[in-house]
Symmetry: C2
Subunit: 437 residues, 2 copies
């Protein structure tokens, strides 16, 4: 009991997250050992470019740009924080085949190759820990995987990409366009040089794949997640939504949909979309570079988690927590009975893309200011059940906005197309789902 142990770590990736990991396990080693009884000795670091100047608390001779050289060291644990799905996949699989435990922050790897990674780990009595993959330092993987495991989870809704949340907040608070807000996020270090994976919703969909696989105990295909990013959002809609009592957020949503009394008819609704969140919902209050998760389980009811979702030290916080769990043996114990991404979870059934029902925000914009816009619309909208309507003047245009009553995507789409063909609109109507939980 409470003997101090030393764990030899092979570190694949010495960038933003990797340097945060080194900061904790090297610079704060005494404090960490005192609290946890574990000390980490980094025996090698894999980098893409050996010639790049770095200021890491690590002997430069330990760095290599050869994956095979990294894995030839004497190590107890592979930490993969390099990102990507090519070299990262190869390194992770090689380590697992050698029976080594792996800690990874790589959501893309798990979303796209999770079944292979987990099957390989099980086959070689190894384990994989991935707390850092879904919301940086916010421990929501542990919450879903362990804290809530007595529950049948019915719904999860989250802000999983803090860069997008930073961009949306900057647009609204500072009146920026999408492009200017992205540039600001890049200057602030929140967005990559190529922000496509963030703003397209792809990163959110990767994380949703991982969390939904855990929450619903189903083998989920990343490619089946309906996905829409924030790159086409307009500031006008963020502002109108705010005036109507909503915050527009890029959400990842997973929900069980059961038709009839038989659980075997259960299907999953999985989607990534910019969504209007009512101000009373805790996700609406998250601004700037933060992440959050709202989960509803059959025993616990609703729980909510929020915090820094990215960044060097916050993400390293989760990586190092996993490293300690691997060191104590807790990860292996949990992993042995984990039913995720392996051959024992049944493939998910998905709801039809047109089937999800909910209220929607719809904005129609007329070519020229028209006093009678709403009454014209009211006639044209007779097929759409409505909750709220309002007109909104912005610059020289006239917006007419409605929040519908619950209606399916398919019904709404048909009605909106019919209206667009009959009325003199300026451009396509804007349709955004409204969160209802």
């Amino acid at each position: 009991m409470n003997r101090e142990r030393t764990i030899k770590v092979a570190l694949a990736g010495c960038g933003t997250v990797g340097s945060g990991v080194l900061d904790i396990v090297v610079n704060r080693a005494e404090s960490l050992a005192c609290r946890t009884g574990v000390r980490f000795q980094v025996v090698g670091g894999l980098v893409a470019d050996l010639s790049k100047k770095r200021s890491l608390p690590l002997d430069p001779h330990l760095l290599t740009d050869e994956p095979a050289a990294l894995l030839s060291r004497d190590y107890d644990l592979l930490v993969e924080v390099m990102g990507g799905t090519t070299t990262a996949r190869a390194v992770v699989l090689d380590a697992l085949r050698a029976g080594k435990p792996v800690v990874t922050a790589n959501k893309a790897l798990l979303a796209l190759h999770g079944a292979e990674v987990f099957r390989t780990a099980h086959a070689h009595s190894a384990c994989v820990a991935f707390e850092a993959s879904c919301a940086g330092g916010l421990p929501i993987v542990g919450a879903v995987l362990r804290g809530l495991q007595a529950n049948r989870i019915n719904q999860l809704v989250g802000i999983f990409n803090s860069t997008c949340n930073f961009v949306l907040t900057a647009m609204l608070d500072r009146g920026m366009t999408f492009a200017d807000a992205v540039a600001e996020a890049q200057r602030s270090g929140y967005a990559e040089a190529d922000p496509t994976l963030d703003v397209s919703g792809g990163d959110t969909a990767h994380k949703l794949t991982v969390l939904a696989s855990l929450a619903f105990a189903r083998n989920i295909e990343f490619s089946r997640i309906a996905m829409q990013g924030i790159d086409r959002l307009q500031l006008d809609d963020l502002r109108i939504a705010r005036e109507m009592g909503y915050a527009c957020k890029l959400l990842g949503i997973g929900r069980r949909v059961t038709n009839g009394p038989h659980a075997q008819n259960e299907r999953l609704h999985l989607a990534v979309r910019p969504t209007l969140v009512p101000n009373a919902h805790p996700l609406a209050a998250l601004t700037g570079a933060s992440s959050g998760l709202w989960v509803q389980g059959d025993a616990v009811g609703e729980t909510f988690y929020s915090g820094a979702g990215a960044g060097s030290l916050p993400t390293a916080s989760a990586v190092v927590a996993d490293m300690i769990e691997v060191a104590t043996g807790a990860t292996q114990a949990t992993f042995n009975s984990l039913r995720i991404f392996n051959d024992q979870t049944a493939p998910a059934e998905y709801v039809d893309p047109g089937a999800p029902e909910g209220p929607f925000y719809v904005r129609f914009t007329f070519d020229s200011p028209r006093q009678d816009a709403l009454s014209d619309l009211a006639r044209a909208l007779s097929d759409i059940p409505m909750r709220h309507e309002r007109s909104h003047a912005a610059s020289d245009r006239r917006h007419a906005v409605i929040i519908t009553a619950p209606i399916t995507c398919a019904e709404l789409d048909t009605a909106v197309r019919a209206i667009a063909s009959r009325l003199p609109l300026a451009g396509e109507p804007v349709v955004l789902p409204v969160l209802e939980v």
Copy 2:
């Protein structure tokens, strides 16, 4: 991998939480086994009164009112959800001495006898899981113990008693007195017949003892927590606070206070007090019977957790999660390296009760309506640095309210006493701390 295993459970306590546990492990056994690979067989239930009518999904012949009879069964795991610190302590210690793992929801037991319980567990190679002890189903023990373990935690602030939060919400939303709101909480099933432990702050202090012991890795004495309940709060103050942009909540607060550069000078500030929470803080938004925790760590920054903090199924959600963790072996692995409540954590040093510094809300009430109340006060208050002041008329009285700038408790107390001796006040001034994080 993924073999189903059956765990024999001795269940000490078949009341609110115990019946929730049975609901999950008996009524939902198939679903649980399918998700987790674990099946629980309850081999005995301890009750205080065998003659009481119950509708439990458990063979009545398995019930006993004799602790020794329960522990004579063939069992793998003791689940203690009976509460109290006498029989519960004896049952838990006996099980641990027999080398059996224990899952408990009992915060009073851990706060008052934690060192003994944990020492006994370590001595007999057993383990203790206690996720349900601090916030019902909200998995904050796991968050602090595992998810955030790479951090040096500097502060934690929480709403740990959902009954008090229900009472405060009912007072404010429905204009009730404290006594009426407590009666309403009892009718709604949120408060016990004797609500003293809740409203006095004692239950919050129990939970704070457990969480702070984990977060600060110190041996903390329950008796050293400064404690004040909600039983003397007045509706007027809740209303004035709301008008000034604050929500009054019963908070448990733990904070490291370092004087000078040396960590060895570190002391802990631990307190349970009704506190004004700025509306922008996520704890301010928690209404009704909910719980929440805000934690600040050196790597992760700020994280926040909220959800149902009590009740039969929510609490059982955490108990059963722990039962599964014990079954997989994860609890034992974590527990072996756990530095809490045992001989290896140093005793905490505490800050002087008068030392904590912060802004405070102070209400002075004059005997009769006086237009010059604030100017009189302004003169009298020259020693107190102020942030805001306002006057507030309520019924036939005149309240003068200030929010001070940061000041120590001791300085404020001296100044307020001096004012009270000079001005014709109706009763004692009301002083409440304001949360500043």
